[in-house]
């Protein structure tokens, strides 16, 4: 059910060998760059000719020169506080709802890159990293209680801090929708679902669709049965402005990457 076809899928789909759909992406080697794969035509190891069988290798990727400060930065956040516990078993990726749809979405690998502070690698995945649907299958099954679902939130913070340019281009919609949510949640203390829907449609340049039959039918139905008006009556909690100020103050004073404004 993959929604995204990676170019490499075709090139590497087993070299003519019959591969079940499930196995395709294993053969397709997404997370290994082509430059890192070494293939020998004829290979003799210790006097044994292994040509045709053992002739594909991955160039050693041992990374010992990594930046610890990055790891500490993530550990300080609420969402990423358990990054130290991950032992890279891959249960999260195996459980993930999104991985079968977008095979480059690989929570285990993202956590690894965060542990090592490997920004160069992370940058390659900005276009899929935001697709986590927050289903917590990974967290349910993770044997080390790393809470990978929330590690994906930490990942978003990291991306926001280190790749502001990409966020502005590739993640524009995601950021804008988040902003709509936050403005409503913090600003008003309650969520206006109708406004959320229409503003998000506008932001994604789909205002026209709002006038299409499906949308019109739904809006008409809700106006007719009175639900549209209940949205207008939703209101705000009393004295919410005090909570709002307290929350904003808290966020301003934070000295972790959770403080988006200051870009600490």
């Amino acid at each position: 059910m993959a929604l995204e076809k990676h170019d490499k899928d075709k090139e590497n789909s087993g070299g003519g060998r019959p591969v079940a759909e499930k196995g395709e992406h294993i053969v397709a080697r997404h997370l290994i760059e082509d430059d890192n794969i070494k293939e020998e035509k004829n290979l003799v190891i210790d006097g044994v000719d292994v040509s045709g069988r053992w002739n594909t290798f991955i160039i050693s990727r041992v990374d010992s020169d990594f930046d610890r400060s990055f790891f500490e930065e993530i550990k300080k956040t609420v969402a990423g506080s358990r990054i130290n516990r991950c032992w890279q078993c891959g249960m999260c990726t195996a459980s993930c709802t999104v991985t079968p749809l977008y095979r480059r979405f690989n929570p285990r690998a993202f956590i690894y890159m965060m542990q090592l502070g490997n920004l160069k690698e992370l940058k390659k995945y900005i276009d899929v990293a935001w697709r986590c649907v927050g289903c917590y299958k990974c967290s349910q099954r993770c044997p080390k209680q790393v809470n990978p679902a929330e590690m994906m939130e930490a990942l978003a913070l990291v991306i926001k801090k280190y790749f502001p340019e990409e966020v502005k281009t590739k993640l524009k919609l995601d950021e804008e929708v988040k902003k709509i949510y936050e403005d409503m949640i913090i600003g008003h203390g309650r969520l206006d679902l109708a406004k959320l829907h229409t503003s998000a449609m506008q932001k994604s340049g789909r205002t026209k669709e709002l006038l299409g039959k499906i949308e019109r039918d739904t809006i008409f139905k809700m106006a007719k049965d009175g639900r549209a008006f209940s949205i207008l009556r939703l209101g705000k909690p009393h004295n919410w402005s005090r909570s709002k100020e307290a929350i904003e103050n808290y966020l301003r004073k934070l000295n972790t990457i959770e403080n988006g404004e200051a870009g600490v």
Binding site: I185, S204, R227, R242, E245
Partner: protein, 307 residues
């Protein structure tokens, strides 16, 4: 406001249930009352944060916990019942976190202090209860059976639990509640539906995700997941899919016409809330259970089957 009586429970409706998902709100109240518990809304509630604040540290915990404070302060109740699985998740996540982590608890209390709305500090001594788990544990299947006046004989239902009712157990403590529901294979809704006289079908997507969280910015993913769930349920012979979360309803019900447009008629199946079916079996009218609110038109199949 008066403190609660013995047969009352503090209830958090949330933004969806007070507006477009009134079907779930009303039917939850109806069936709870019938089963002997009156749900009393906390006054002055605020949004739980709907998962969108998680990267904002303790602020994400202040949102739900302010409501726990209201329940205690205004209604004298440590616990709070809610029907939305997303709210349930936000509440139980926050409670579990501050129980375990002193720093996070103090950070939340700092916000409380600054807002100055309550005189006391927040103490995590209460629980969030999901309406399904709550009715199951407090009243039980027998109480459901006792109230059935119109058995749903011949109705095939695909129970859909979605994600956050049972996952992750580190937050929901699903496995530790008085009687446990399983995180991987929950059963409570099955038992309720069978007690109503309906037949449950197995279709394999009971705890799949609907993609609801990203539904506004990533329809593509949500549609693919929902189409899979609906078509599997349909293939298994279900007449309707029963839900326990308004976010799932947004993805599976409200968006269904668009999903059908994209994936065809295999992805077309009426969606209802569990509590609507309970209300129907308990003798309330289809109007009282607000079946007409659902976009996927469950009324057709219900009428056909003679309910």
């Amino acid at each position: 406001m008066d403190k609660l009586k013995e047969n009352q429970a503090a209830y958090y409706p949330g933004c969806a249930l007070l507006t477009i998902d009134r079907a779930y709100n009303n039917s939850s109240k109806l069936v709870s009352k019938k089963m002997g518990i009156e749900l009393v809304e906390i006054p002055d509630y605020n949004c739980c944060g709907i998962g969108e604040m998680k990267s904002k540290g303790a602020a994400s915990m202040y949102m739900p916990l302010r409501n726990m404070m209201l329940a205690k302060n205004r209604l004298g109740s440590k616990n709070l019942v809610m029907a939305c699985s997303v709210c349930y998740h936000e509440f139980s996540r926050s409670i579990a976190r501050v129980k375990e982590n002193q720093n996070e608890l103090s950070a939340v209390n700092e916000i409380f202090k600054e807002a100055g709305e309550f005189n006391e500090e927040f103490i995590p001594d209460g629980e969030a209860r999901h309406i399904l788990e709550f009715l199951y544990n407090e009243k039980g299947v027998e109480e459901v059976k006792k109230n059935v006046v119109k058995p749903l004989k011949g109705l095939k239902v695909a129970p859909y639990y979605g994600c956050l009712y049972s996952r992750p157990s580190m937050y929901t403590f699903t496995d530790k509640k008085p009687k446990m529901d399983n995180s991987e294979r929950p059963r409570f809704m099955h038992e309720f539906l069978e007690a109503l006289g309906a037949e449950t079908v197995f279709y394999g997507n009971e705890v799949q995700c609907c993609g609801g969280r990203n539904v506004v910015q990533d329809e593509e993913t949500s549609f693919a997941l929902c189409s899979q769930t609906i078509s599997k349920a349909k293939k298994a012979g279900a007449d309707v899919i029963a839900l326990i979360c308004p976010k799932c309803a947004g993805a599976l019900d409200v968006n269904q016409p668009k999903i059908v447009e994209k994936f065809g008629k295999d992805s077309e199946l009426p969606i209802v809330y569990l509590t609507q079916l309970m209300a129907l079996a308990f003798g309330f009218s289809k109007k009282e259970a607000e079946f007409g609110d659902m976009i996927s038109e469950p009324l057709k199949v219900l009428n056909e089957k003679g309910f």
